[in-house]
């Protein structure tokens, strides 16, 4: 029997597979397909203070081995998430979940974190720093070490739950941002978010996405994500949740060898709603094939 358990701070996950924020809603669409309780955890759709429609449609484009999205953080807002979505999620999923929060100002992050801190089924607060900082000139919080550190500190101040900062890949040196977050008190890191990309419609000669650009995810970005996890692992001591293009149990092992303690599966859920289930079920076979008795043993094994 292989051991698929991993530990994020003090939270023991039955396995490292977590659906990624924004690709799993609040789980409801998947319950008719399988029992969500097989999942290591669930990172639910990013929450902002107020309800957001997000960007205009089209918000989705396709590319080789991947997709682009410019959803723009559509969500019902903090209050509705806490009052409706989280209790609903608690009905269908009995383990601690990951609360992905976003903000366009420090205060917004703080308010979201404060509210999530009070929710019993939230195990980890995952702070998406990819949004543009409306008070800081529009540059994303996630691309400047100081801004990322500032958000980390502010969120840490209002919660006792583990805080994971979710890093943007659209930077020169992701390890520097990671270190800044660690120094500011982050309990862990999630990476990567989507890579800024674009597609143009040859018929209309205009960008396909109404927002022009969008975030790329899916299998195509896996080697880039893997590299970033590998780099970040070398510069921080806190645990890493690795993601970006994971589509198979082999990818999970590869990402963990690079340094991830757990992984998130994003776009793969959209292509195949059973993706997480199939990966979890295939994991023991792959572990046996590569002679892994406990997943914990391989974290960072490629260094």
């Amino acid at each position: 029997m292989v051991d698929t358990k991993v530990v994020l701070n003090n939270i023991v996950l039955d396995n490292p597979i977590i659906p990624a924020s924004g690709t799993f809603g609040y789980g409801a669409e998947f319950t008719e397909l399988y029992d969500l309780n097989i999942l290591g955890s669930i990172s639910f759709k990013g929450t902002t203070l107020n309800e957001r429609f997000g960007n205009k449609t089209p918000r989705i484009a396709e590319c080789e081995s991947g997709m682009l999205n410019s959803v723009g953080l559509q969500n019902p807002g903090l209050k509705a998430v806490c009052e409706h979505e989280l209790p609903n999620l608690a009905q269908i999923y009995k383990k601690p979940v990951i609360a992905n929060i976003s903000g366009f100002s420090l205060e917004e992050y703080v308010e979201c974190a404060r509210a999530m801190d009070k929710k019993e089924n939230v195990g980890i607060i995952e702070v998406n720093v990819s949004c543009p900082n409306i008070h800081g000139g529009g540059m994303s919080f996630g691309v400047l070490p100081e801004a990322a550190a500032e958000v980390t500190k502010a969120v840490k101040a209002v919660t006792t739950k583990p805080v994971y900062i979710k890093l943007s890949p659209n930077v020169k040196d992701i390890a520097a941002i990671a270190s800044a977050c660690e120094e500011a008190g982050a309990d862990g890191l999630s990476l990567i978010n989507t890579i800024l990309a674009m597609r143009i419609d040859l018929k209309t000669r205009k960008p396909i996405l109404a927002n022009k650009m969008g975030g790329m995810s899916g299998a195509a970005i896996f080697p880039i994500a893997l590299r970033m996890v590998y780099q970040v692992y070398e510069s921080v001591k806190i645990p890493i949740i690795g993601m970006g293009g994971i589509s198979s149990a082999e990818d999970v092992v590869e990402m963990m060898l690079a340094g991830a303690t757990a992984v998130q599966v994003g776009a793969a859920n959209l292509k195949n709603p059973f993706a997480c289930k199939e990966i979890i079920e295939d994991l023991p076979r792959v572990m046996e094939k590569y002679k892994i008795s406990s997943l914990c043993d391989i974290i960072g094994g490629a260094h």
């Binding site: 809603g25 669409e29 449609t57 918000r59 989705i60 997709m67 999205n69």
Partner: protein, 244 residues
């Protein structure tokens, strides 16, 4: 929603770029006309949403137009090949809201889902009539199948090469009384029908989709009753909620 493997029984060309594919498999998740399936195709990351055109037991019929890589790949598939489908997606048309004499209005590849709708309406004891709009005579398909249902069928062609010259809205003026409107087609057509129609009704929309089953928020539109995911809360919207 179900995910299952279907077998291609037939895949034939209807017009220059429109094909009919017949697939057998587990159709149990499909409950209403206007629902769609989402098809995985080798080498393409996202699935392709296509409306259910007809359903007889385990035999599913889809009609699709070749517009890009995915539909082109589909057109090359042959009998016996397997396809991975998500079925039972979307709300579909609610026939219970219809009056006894609804009009069904479709344009181009908006026509296929209306065929199953017509059958559903008939079996619910209603007397639908159908208006089908195409650009030109050579692009017309499904007319005979609609007629074979024993209902009145009005075909409009934009260039006048067949039937009523003009748009579906021109045909709507000529088709006599109706008490409810069902429509599917390109957005400009839907809007024209919305403006021309004198009754309540349901309109089916298209949007680029990530998942097709409600998870990604890729396809959301604003309605008078709040944000709706075209794939899950749609593709069919009630006249009363539509914001253009």
């Amino acid at each position: 929603m179900k995910k299952s493997i279907f077998t291609i029984e037939n895949n034939e060309r209807l017009t220059n770029d429109v094909y009919r594919i017949m697939l057998s498999g587990d159709t149990s998740a499909i409950s209403a006309a206007g629902q769609f399936v989402n098809i995985e195709l080798d080498g393409l990351y996202l699935r392709r949403p296509i409306s259910v055109c007809d359903l007889e037991g385990t035999m599913l019929t889809l009609i699709y137009k070749v517009v890009g890589r995915g539909t082109e790949k589909m057109s090359l598939l042959t009998k016996g090949k397997k396809l991975d489908l998500l079925t039972g997606l979307g709300n579909g048309y609610d026939t219970s809201k219809s009056g006894d004499n609804p009009v069904i209005i479709g344009g181009g590849v908006g026509v296929p889902p209306l065929y199953m709708l017509a059958k559903k309406l008939i079996s619910a004891g209603k007397k639908p009539k159908a208006i089908l709009g195409f650009n030109t005579k050579s692009e017309i398909f499904l007319e005979d199948e609609f007629s074979a249902l024993g209902i009145d069928v009005y075909v409009a062609s934009a260039d006048g090469s067949y039937g009523i010259k003009g748009y579906v809205t021109d045909a709507l003026r000529e088709c006599g009384a109706y008490d409810y409107t069902f429509s599917c087609g390109p957005e400009p057509m839907l809007k024209a029908v919305y403006n021309a129609a004198e009754t309540d009704g349901q309109y089916s929309f298209e949007e680029r989709m990530g998942c097709g089953f409600g998870a990604c928020m890729g396809c959301t539109c604003e309605t008078k009753y709040g944000f709706k995911r075209i794939c899950k809360d749609g593709p069919v919207l009630e006249r009363g909620e539509i914001i253009w």
